[in-house]
């Protein structure tokens, strides 16, 4: 009986050890620099996201009152390609970028329809849209959406055939 109990205990301990080996790096990763940022893209409510197809359709039809489009990522990428009619207002991950964002929306009514986007990296790694969205929310803007770019601007906008403009 005792031998069986020892064998069972050893088996459980072995399984626990193996489980630890496989889970510990993942746990560490969550608390490393790769983990969720304080205002990461993942913190943006789902209800405030807009899909590329939907935004593109809206821009095609809503000629009279289009949203204020603000790219809050990299200026280098903005200059390569951007959604037509958008302005640069970043980077959202930097204090100077958030100041620029504030200056871009300064005179706008709080109900103004604003769409933020970045597309620098995969959504869950983007350091820019989360802080930018939070800043506008904190400033009292009530009609802010964020363009959901799952992979990056190239894959989820340009290569889907949606219009872009370049230069700057």
């Amino acid at each position: 009986m005792e031998r069986r109990q020892v064998a069972r205990t050893v088996s459980i301990a072995t399984l626990a050890f193996i489980a630890m080996i496989f889970t510990l790096p993942q746990c560490q990763a969550q608390f490393s620099a790769n983990g969720p940022l304080p205002a990461s893209a993942l913190s943006i409510p789902q209800s405030q996201l807009i899909q590329p197809d939907a935004l593109n359709g809206m821009l095609q039809t809503s000629k009279t009152d289009p949203p204020l489009l603000l790219q809050v990522g990299s200026r280098v990428m903005f200059n390569q390609a951007r959604i037509p009619g958008s302005f640069y207002a970043g980077p959202g991950s930097q204090p100077e970028g958030l100041k620029l964002l504030e200056s871009m929306v300064g005179q706008a009514p709080k109900s103004k329809f604003i769409v933020l986007y970045c597309g620098c990296c995969p959504w869950d790694r983007c350091p820019n849209v989360g802080p930018a969205y939070k800043r506008l929310h904190d400033l009292g803007f009530t009609n802010v959406k964020v363009l959901y770019l799952a992979n990056n601007f190239g894959a989820d906008w340009l290569y889907k055939g949606f219009r872009v403009e370049q230069g700057g």
């Binding site: 790769n34 620098c120 990296c121 995969p122 190239g154 340009l158 290569y159």
Partner: protein
């Protein structure tokens, strides 16, 4: 002319119509043509010359005969910061076989890049990119983007996003084994 049975296949009018339709389809498709990013494969890598963070002139052309790993990155890009140290290890390990890593920063200004280089101390050149260079390389509209350039100067691969490092390393070894 009335067509019957299989006659339509030999009718000049049908042939012209089919040809016209095919032509129109080709034109329509060209409006949404494959993105420029994919067109660099097997073509000579676009040339450029930049001054790296140590003040040295860097150009892919100068490394002709080597296998070049050209990585577009930025200091704020988390996946990039995971890859770069590994690329540094590869530079040290495979450099003797002819690998040359070149890192092109897509940061908006050089100051964070200088700080990053001072901290990382890479054994490969780090240069500043810009929109023009990104466009020449097919559009760098998300980071990281990694190119492998073979010894003959032709683009062998373009990897978008975080690379599968074991697979990338295998590909590098294949290229290094080629004359």
């Amino acid at each position: 002319m009335r067509l019957r049975g299989n006659d339509y296949r030999d009718s000049p009018r049908v042939n012209r119509t089919v040809a016209l339709l095919l032509s129109l389809m080709c034109v329509a498709l060209s409006v949404h043509a494959a993105p420029a990013a994919k067109s660099l494969l097997d073509k000579p890598a676009p040339s450029f010359t930049r001054i790296d963070m140590n003040g040295n002139r860097v150009s892919p052309r100068a490394y002709r005969g080597k296998v070049i790993l050209l990585n577009f990155w930025a200091t704020w890009c988390i996946p990039c910061s995971l890859e770069l140290p590994r690329f540094g290890e590869w530079q040290n390990h495979y450099g003797i076989e002819g690998l040359q890593v070149i890192a092109v920063s897509m940061d908006d200004s050089p100051s964070p890049v200088r700080a990053f280089v001072r901290k990382l101390k890479p054994d490969f050149p780090v240069v500043m990119g810009d929109a023009r260079l990104g466009t020449r390389y097919g559009g760098i509209l998300g980071l990281p983007v990694t190119f492998l350039i073979a010894r003959d100067g032709r683009v062998s691969a373009r990897i978008e996003g975080e690379a599968n490092l074991p697979a990338l390393e295998s590909r590098i070894k294949e290229l290094l084994a080629q004359p």
